[in-house]
């Protein structure tokens, strides 16, 4: 017992003793990294965290433009073939060299059952070896933006996964521990030193990284602190250096605290409202025998009745970027000239309702998540109040996201009016058109998140064209045309882009990206 105690104390002391010149960076988020397996979940925080350990072929620079990572260059050798030149002399953390075998293996692995990043390589039919450091990717039809789509696909080591029985991604139907969910072996600037799920995850500098480090960190300690107040307290008390998700109510307080700094920037996620235009009769409305949302005047009336400026100022406390489009600036294809909202005009809205045959308004249900987007429920409440001014009585059903998504998503799409947010994972407008705006079609795979069932033949055609158009200018024209049609038909009601808000101590230098990615390789501790 005594010896155990002494050993424990010694261990504790060693853990405390700071190494000479060591720069430890401690940061926290409101959620944990659910897994170390880069294919476990298609969610921003997991991908940005694991992205410090693993690397994709094509990454992104500080402006979110595609940039070389494990591939040094790429080009289209034919409309359906992309050729990637791989970086030479790169080693995984376990010392084994990185080769095209690893790329081929990672391609297989990311498409296996249990992987949640299948969609990232959805257009790729085949990956083939040209030589040790060259691979060709053959796509299913032309894919002009393939390199952009691959930025979240991290390369894993073939030999390491084979050695550790981690060839397959976690299979939720089996009761097994998955090595790759707690261990990691990438090529990135940081190596996983220790992972205690929910407690802390420790990374250390990779001295053998192929790049020239911009950071000066020797160690990174990440902690999950779910409670907002506690997370803020930890920052105030100096227990952490940086907070990845700042509670909106604490932004001002932190801004005015000495030695703390707020980082704010528009995010790529667009928050919008959708209306059921598919059913002949709404599932929860007092209008029977017809669907008011099929009438563009009603959709426009809703749009005009919503005072997005007030939502931005009052609900979001200024931390939002008003938008007229379904994609954010920074997303490829965003057209600034279209990003003018129709002005707030409740009188015109009221008139439109009268014209459409609803002089006394009507009643409709609305679905809203309570824990998915920043202030989601409060936004919905504001919308309810605004619509009541034009005589529309909205019955709000706000629920936790697990229930909310189960209700509104396909195949049921059981909603008449809802709030949703979307970040194009490819940073390209096509992704939003394909998932949110194109007609729902199981065979084409389009419109899976087109919950309201908006449908326009020309938009569908444009979406197909955009997917394969290799001429950037023509492609932009097509995107703009589709966006314009959708905007004028009020297919959805875009509200705003959320703001990415981070907070850090003032001795920390970091780079904030609009995709809410937080690469540790840009962090410096002064």
């Amino acid at each position: 017992m005594h010896r155990g105690l002494a050993a424990a104390l010694a261990a504790a002391l060693v853990a405390f003793a700071p190494l000479a010149g060591a720069k430890t960076f401690r940061f926290a988020n409101d959620g944990d990294v659910n897994s170390m397996d880069p294919y476990a979940r298609n969610e921003t925080f997991l991908l940005t965290f694991v992205g410090n350990i693993y690397e994709p072929l094509v990454g992104r620079d500080k402006q979110l433009k595609a940039a070389p990572m494990l591939a040094t260059s790429w080009s289209q050798t034919s409309p359906e073939v992309w050729r990637f030149k791989l970086r030479q002399g790169v080693k995984f953390h376990d010392g084994t060299p990185f080769t095209d075998d690893d790329v081929l293996f990672s391609f297989d692995r990311v498409r296996m059952d249990g992987s949640n990043l299948k969609a990232v390589v959805a257009t790729v039919k085949r990956v083939s070896k040209i030589d040790d450091y060259t691979v060709d990717m053959t796509t299913d039809g032309p894919d002009p933006i393939l390199p952009e789509e691959l930025t979240n696909w991290y390369i894993m080591s073939k030999s390491w996964t084979e050695k550790n029985n981690a060839v397959k991604p976690a299979d939720l139907t089996k009761n097994e521990d998955f090595y790759a969910s707690r261990h990691a072996n990438g090529t990135g600037p940081f190596m996983l030193k220790d992972r205690e799920p929910e407690v802390k995850t420790t990374l250390v500098n990779n001295p053998n990284w192929w790049g020239k480090p911009e950071h000066n960190l020797t160690e990174v300690v990440f902690t999950h602190i779910g409670n907002d107040a506690t997370r803020v307290a930890a920052l105030l008390s100096g227990e952490i250096d940086m907070m990845y998700t700042v509670p909106p109510q604490d932004i001002e307080r932190i801004r005015h605290t000495p030695h703390l700094k707020i980082y704010e920037g528009p995010e790529l996620r667009t928050i919008f409202l959708g209306m059921d235009q598919a059913r002949d009769e709404l599932i929860d409305s007092n209008v029977k025998g017809k669907n008011p949302f099929k009438d563009v005047r009603v959709r426009k009336a809703f749009y005009l009745a919503i005072d997005e400026k007030a939502i931005k100022d009052k609900v979001m406390r200024g931390s939002a970027t008003i938008t007229a489009l379904m994609v954010a600036p920074g997303v490829n294809g965003f057209d600034k000239s279209l990003n003018q909202r129709y002005p707030y005009d409740p009188a015109a809205a009221k008139k439109l309702l009268v014209e459409a045959g609803y002089p006394n308004g009507f009643e409709v249900g609305m679905d809203c998540p309570t824990d998915r987007y920043i202030n989601d429920e409060a936004i919905c409440q504001a919308v309810v109040a605004m619509l009541s001014k034009i005589g529309v009585k909205v019955n709000l059903l706000a629920q936790t996201r697990s229930k909310y998504f189960a209700k509104i998503l396909g195949p049921g799409y059981n909603t008449s009016f809802y709030l949703l947010g979307w970040t194009p994972t490819t940073y390209d407008a096509h992704n939003a058109l394909f998932n949110l705006i194109a007609s729902r079609s199981a065979s084409a795979g389009t419109g899976l998140f087109n919950v309201g069932g908006y449908s326009n033949k020309r938009v569908d055609e444009l979406t197909r064209l955009i997917q394969i158009e290799t001429d950037p200018e023509k492609r932009q024209a097509e995107i703009s045309e589709a966006m314009k049609i959708h905007k004028e038909e009020f297919g959805h009601i875009p509200l705003h882009q959320q703001t990415v808000v981070w907070a850090a101590r003032d001795n920390i230098e970091l780079v904030q990206l609009a995709d809410n990615f937080f690469p540790l390789r840009y962090v410096r501790v002064k």
């Binding site: 944990d32 476990a40 990232v120 799920p197 779910g226 307290a233």
Partner: protein
Amino acid sequence: MIAFIIRRLCQSVAVMLSVAFIAFALFTYVGDPINNIVGQDTGLREREQLRHQLGLDDPFILQFARFVGHAAEGDFGLSYQYARPVSELIAERLPATLELSLVAAVLALAIGLPVGIYTGLHRYSWLSQLMLTASLVGISLPTFLTCILLILVFAVILGWLPSFGRGSTVALGWWTTGFLTIDGLKALILPAITLGLFQMTLIIRLVRAEMLEVLRTDYIKFARARGLPNRLIHFGHALKNTLVPVITITGLQLGSIIAFAVVTETVFQWPGMGLLIIQAISFADIPVMSAYLVLVAFFFVVINLIVDLLYYAVDPRLRIDRAAASGHGI
């Protein structure tokens, strides 16, 4: 005695089965885990396929039967959220919650009992009034608020104690303990106080009320009439009789300490089962939720068993069936 324990443990299986059954009946309402598991770009067909693989499209009776079948083999499945075996997750979290609950319970008892006795014996003293008023504050302050206040004072303003986490721990086999390191002990203080505060207040009030009750009884009056000294009356006769109900309530409270730990653990980011279940609920992580509920049911059964055994030790009237053999009165 042994037979009694075995009988009770058998009953516990029935209790856990019912809890699991009710849990599964309710899971239909917590939402759909599929959207949480897959990425937003995952197609409808794949979503349905995963739903089918996980058996989420089966009627709940079938899901329940499958759960029981696997659980009987010690297999609680894989967490949807962490893709790790639930049994492993729980084994990892259990020490944190049990250590915290234990310290909180000991704290609650160590302060609650003496204060309860004191205020019971000295009803009219100003110190009693002060302690009772303070305990009223303790009982009416929401746990969440207590947590935040303590963090603000001791972590942010004074900087003495950590605001979150468990500090460093030492592994003793699969058990991780925070008792053996200084920062582990420091990290325990605030969560244990918040968690124990409510129970402490409850124990104070319970012991006081019980003490007052017992002091009014005839046998205490008679003990006084026999000329026994106060010490003997208060700490022998009265206290022992006070303990009988206090044991029950405290036992049940220990169970609810584990349940209350959810709030404390969430606020202090204490890596225990409370934190696990909160996340599991928001993720609709059915395997974790079901295992947690069954485990908590098991705790309650075990605590009840211990309470009954303590009863048995304290109150001779319950030993009647054994004693009956040796004669019963005139």
